[in-house]
Symmetry: C2
Subunit: 800 residues, 2 copies
């Protein structure tokens, strides 16, 4: 077990005293105490103040050991100094650590270091001032169950008890973070319909966008809340089965494409120039809506902030249930259906209290400051909204968001979408208007023709870039004013790392603060891990960006935090990713050991093998990378570096240049970098280590605690990064080159960027193959590829 | 998708009117309506009454289609009769079913039948009375997301809205079931300490038992609540790592036992005859405790009832954190630490408001009627409490509970505990007092010596029955007065089916009502399945047993409900299990096809194979049952029946008689019955089909929807039942017989009871083997067993 804490703000003693007063640990009474043990006892009794009975609180103290022989109740009945050992023994127990398991009462400091907890105070005994500082730091330390101690006792009722007696201010901040002092049992849930400037379903009326609001009851008494907005196209329902009818079959041969001579201007998308219909006439004003809603699944990070004075707003956008319009998969219209909500929250757009009466309603409860959250499509919409520069949007926390749809569904002239997905499939998947039979009956025809048009325009057959895709580059125009916190999984092969790489590099052109967190997951949330204080640092971030709390977050947070792949529960900070902190190193492929001794391979597998792999994709990828003999031997080229003499970190975007020929007039090449060496690698998906133990607030949302733990079994390899290219797209993704059989061509292309820690003794592997049964079309074509290894090379960015 | 509904109470029109008035669908106003369409429209508008705006409600109506062309808003603006098709089209949409996916607007009745929904009304058009009846039935129909429609709209705020306006009574019952009308945002959580008559830690003081209470706020205003009590030894924490130190190694040879001549009186346990210490002096009385608590994990069925006027009480019993005493794994002391709580709830025992002050507190909020719930150990404690006949305990819902600890940890003179478990390990696992370092420091020594005594007394080495185990037969004395609802998984190999079989048969001696539900899971909860209305029927049951509602549940519920193993989402009702509805059928084992042609086998495997199986237990069991060649060939005897000419159901407890010899002076025999035949069998564990879609109350607990679905791949076999015996325990589990090498003995013993549907064409398999690598000790001994098949036979109870 190891805890990494990035979200702590170093605080002066003067400020510590001020903040402990604000949260009522220090009072007019106990500030006068001069005996350290007496003050410590008072803190401990206040710690258990959810129990009104003093006898009960003392029973809790008796359950804690101060030394190996004396309990905390006995220990604090004396007067005098508090020993460091006793303070941290009790502190560790309050944090949930168990004697004789997580630590030993005879040497708490040893475990504090091993667990990665904050540096203990250096004094052997503590006076009152030191008790105050140490107590403050303890309340701001993560416990065994993934929460700051102050958040844990807030969940147990600490503030609730205070609010029953003397009150605390709302909002309340402690160590720069908003505290759980708001009444979650009285949250207001209401629905409004924002009028966009779009008419994407062409019915002659501006698209109304259903917007679900959850806001603190305190906003009815004059409190103005900052807003967390999640644009979630999935939230109103998903058409799993209906969209399956649009799914594409990737078990098919790669087709030869007619060469062309296209330049970018030939495929550039023009911005739509439609004049929207006139706005609806406003027939009245109201402050109350007559519609409420029930949230089923919700993002627990958003729920956490509801207890802390933020409002949370969800809107699903055009084409979703109860809204107007059509889904378009990533066009500017979808972006504008997200920014429309922000404009309303910021006072710059009209919303109605229902779809019928044209009675306007203002977001009078909003303070106008908006931050966006969400993962995947939701994160993409955050990025897209940020790049518009819409007023009121102060920050986005983008988890696994896209920068551009072409490299999501395509790569260098190839379709790279698993499971038959494509833009049309996703449009139908999210077109939840279809679930309202009444609404759907009125727009079925134009919707089906819109979908047919998408199916045609996306050019699934060629994989080429064109206007359709250029219109879906959501970061093409960069007017970003929001500070950006980007979060991505280094093993995310749904939204690949190139997406965050690209967003991040574009954002460097803007005068904003951006931070990056790279984790070892695939397509995951991070807000309930034990080893990493993600929730706390997001709180620090949003308290600054939305509440304007001067907590120095831009300096406190490292620019880049990376979870280590080689050691569990280890998160390191860096100044940059793929920048000048790395040196590029180029090797000829002849310099690497050729594992199978071939430089030529056939893409065709025996039919039974091919059929088996088609139904067992993980077997295929295992056999592809395996160096212990498999049916994939001689259907690829496997090259290995020498065993590494030292640890080595690839930091950024590897590139490859291959001199290669195909025996046919079509061809595609895939390459993978692999980390070889026996190790207990981290689990691919987070494991639940304790259920329902995280308390997001008092009698409020609970969450499971998770972690990527080392696997029980050792594995010999793990894929690090990969890339794919159509040999007819050697120049770029829209110009189609000619391709002659048996003629060598040079293909230069880029892997997905990575940050990978290779341990000493491990080997870097390079696999060169053709069809990727998971990502590309695969028709088991009888094509032989030959690579001139002596004219081929790989370039790796190596961390200095 | 198929829905099975058992918890509906047939209701007269008169009663329907009365109940619809009580829940305010019928009012003084709309009861006068004579036009069916107008009444239907009024019902629909009331259905959406969580939205205060009529415009919003009409928008919701417009989203529903009444016919293939007309929406519900248009349709109900006319006057006249309501067609059956329109009513059920709208009804299906309210239930969450989608047009063109789950049903078709052109023929709703077809889907109603296919989905297993209640029989539609027969009339082609409905008058007002028929609308009322059909609407009542619709509200009492399960929706697509595993809830009754009335529960779903309650979760959406239906009652909450009413309570804001005109009030409904509390408690409120609809179709015999308690309704979610209580305020879950104001629940009272408090702790008391019940004083037991035990002193299991021998400290000279009666053991205090921490009791966590969650009760409706309405109990502070005079409402008296019935109580759901869950005795949960796990709830205060588990010592996973500490108990691992006590784990037993089952990779060891079976040892020869010294023959003996013991009779039952030699191993019979005497009831303890200790005089408990005097009760604590009561120094005062209070109505308020000064301690509260936070529930982390909780059983969602209990939470469901909190919204419906029940109080829920948790107590973990002796030896758990914040209580006194020691864990004993199933003795009468543990039972009495559960019944003590019931005695307090029923006014017959003292509890204190904290551990220190000796101030007594009464359960004045309780109406004295208690029902117990819980699974596994929790269910065992329910059964044990019921068998004491304690006053106030009206019913238990026992999910996967034990009847007796010997057949849990032992079988016919063998240890059959997976993972090195045993009574001592479980005692340490649940001894959560150890997690309070202060408390533990004061009782560590006597606890360790108690644990050593258990380790000795349980005779892990011999596997024999003795006084230790006789004292852990929790159903030995049968004074049961509570009605019992027993629930068990037919694939539960943790708490095996013999446990529920035994409880059930003993309960037949008592003048109580008992019901049984057998499902296709292992060790699972049933309260969130789509295909089965478990939660509803438990509500019906508890409303009757605890609230005394006259809902006829004893007749409405079938005696036995069994989930079919051969068809998904199919639950059938029966009058009995393993009774006279079955005929026994005996076959000589010579009559079955000998798959490998051997009647003799060695228990010894090649070392590499043995080691592999030790670490891959599912591979071992797969290879044991496989008829496609495996390393287990010739290490067992595999017999197969002829392919079945018709479907066949084994209903009850198969028995076997084997004439067998061992080449050594020790020996054990295992047998398994297997269902052979390619099929998409049900998943072993429930699959989540929709997340967080079940609403247990208004802004209250949400739950995932689950189901055992057919597996994507076909399998050739599934183990049905099994049994194990030590050849030295031919007579019973305490008398040790002599055993000579190479001498034939007859072993007659019983399989775990089952209810198994073999499909026509499938074959019944019998596997005879020795060491069971999952359940028994296994030392890879070089022992050869020979079965005289001509003198061996199997007897199966076959459903007529």
């Amino acid at each position: 077990m190891r805890i990494n804490q990035f979200g702590y703000v170093p605080t002066t003693h003067e400020q510590v005293v001020k903040e402990l007063k604000a949260i009522r640990f220090l009072t007019a009474d106990n500030i006068k105490i001069t005996d350290p043990l007496t003050l410590f006892r008072d803190f401990l009794l206040k710690y258990f103040s959810q129990h009104s009975s003093t006898s009960t609180r003392l029973e809790k103290l008796s359950n804690l050991m101060a030394t190996t022989t004396v309990d905390a109740n006995q220990y604090t009945q004396n007067t005098g100094p508090v020993t460091r050992v006793a303070f941290y023994n009790i502190g560790l127990q309050l944090l949930g650590f168990l004697n004789d398991l997580d630590f030993s009462l005879s040497d708490p400091l040893k475990s504090i270091a091993e667990l990665g907890l904050p540096q203990p105070m250096i004094h052997q005994t503590f006076n009152c001032g030191q008790i105050i500082d140490a107590w403050y730091r303890l309340l701001n330390t993560r416990n065994k169950y993934g929460q700051l101690l102050i958040d844990y006792i807030a969940g147990k009722g600490y503030y609730h008890h205070l609010l029953g007696g003397s009150s605390v201010s709302k909002p309340l901040f402690f160590n720069g973070k908003a505290q759980a002092v708001f009444k979650t049992d009285a949250l207001i849930r209401e629905v409004v319909y924002v009028e966009s400037s779009l008419d994407t379903d062409h019915d002659g009326q501006r698209d109304l966008l259903k917007t679900n609001i959850i806001r603190p009851a305190e906003t009815n008494d004059g409190y103005r809340a900052p807003v967390i907005f999640t644009a979630d196209p999935y939230a109103q329902g998903m058409n799993e089965k209906w969209s399956a009818q649009y799914s594409h079959d990737n078990v098919r041969p790669l087709k030869r494409k007619q060469p062309n001579d296209l330049a970018y201007q030939d495929v550039e998308a023009k911005l739509p120039n439609d004049t929207p219909p006139s706005p609806r006439k406003i027939k009245g004003q109201t402050t109350k809506t007559g519609e409420t809603f029930t949230k089923f699944w919700s993002y627990s990070l958003n729920d956490y902030f509801l207890a802390r004075g933020f409002a949370v707003v969800y809107s699903s956008g055009i084409g979703t249930k109860d809204s107007d319009g059509f889904r378009t998969t990533g066009t500017q219209d979808e972006t504008l259906s997200a920014t429309a909500i922000i404009e309303w929250l910021n006072g710059n757009r009209v919303a109605f209290s229902n779809r019928t009466d044209q009675v306007a309603i203002k977001a009078s409860w909003s303070d106008g400051n908006v931050g966006m959250t969400g993962r995947s499509y939701l994160g993409t919409l955050s990025t897209a909204a940020a790049f518009t520069g819409v007023a009121g949007l102060k920050t986005c926390i983008v988890e696994a968001g896209l920068s551009d749809y072409y490299p999501y569904y395509r790569e260098n002239g190839l379709v790279v979408a698993p499971d038959g997905d494509d833009a049309d499939v996703l449009a139908e998947w999210t077109f939840s208007r279809q679930q309202n039979a009444g609404d759907y009956s009125r727009i079925k025809k134009p919707w089906l023709s819109h979908l047919q048009q998408m199916k045609h325009d996306q050019e699934h057959d060629t994989g080429n870039f064109n206007q359709f895709w250029d219109a879906r580059n959501v970061t093409k125009y960069n007017r970003t004013n929001a500070d950006m916190l980007l979060v991505h999984g280094l093993n995310d092969w749904n939204v690949k790392t190139g997406q965050v790489w690209s967003s991040r590099n574009k954002l460097k052109a803007r005068n904003i603060t951006q931070k990056l967190i790279l984790h070892q997951g695939q397509h995951e949330y991070l807000n309930n891990f034990r080893s990493f204080d993600y929730t706390d640092l997001v709180n620090l971030w949003l308290s600054n960006k939305l509440f304007g709390v001067n907590n120095n977050v831009d300096k406190v947070l490292p620019n880049v935090i990376v979870q280590d792949n080689a050691h569990s529960e280890t998160w390191n900070s860096y100044d940059n990713w793929g920048g000048t902190e790395s040196l590029t190193h180029t090797d000829s492929l002849l310099d690497w050991k050729n594992h199978d001794g071939n430089s030529s391979f056939s893409d065709r597998l025996p039919k039974a093998t091919f059929d088996h792999y088609t139904n067992h994709l993980t077997n295929w990828s295992h056999d592809l990378y395996s160096r212990n003999g498999s049916p994939m031997d001689y259907h690829c080229i496997r090259l290995l570096s020498d065993p590494l003499k030292d640890d080595l970190v690839i930091d950024g975007q590897p590139t490859i240049s291959l001199h290669v020929k195909t025996c046919a007039d079509v061809g595609m090449i895939s390459v993978a970098l692999v980390d070889y060496g026996k190790a207990h690698r981290l689990t691919e998906v987070p494991q639940t280590i304790v259920s329902q133990k995280i308390l997001q607030g008092y009698h409020w949302r609970k969450d499971d605690l998770k972690e990527f733990l080392p696997q029980a079994v050792q594995t010999d390899f793990k894929r690090v990064t990969e890339a794919h290219i159509n040999m007819q797209n050697r120049d770029n993704s829209y110009k189609v080159n000619d391709l002659l059989p048996n003629k060598y061509y040079t293909l230069s292309f880029q892997f997905q960027p990575t940050f990978w820690h290779f341990l000493e003794g491990n080997q870097i592997g390079l696999i060169i193959y053709s069809s990727d049964m998971i990502y590309t079309v695969h028709g088991n074509q009888d094509i032989t590829y030959t690579v001139a290894l002596n004219h081929s090379k790989i370039t790796l960015p190596i961390l200095k």
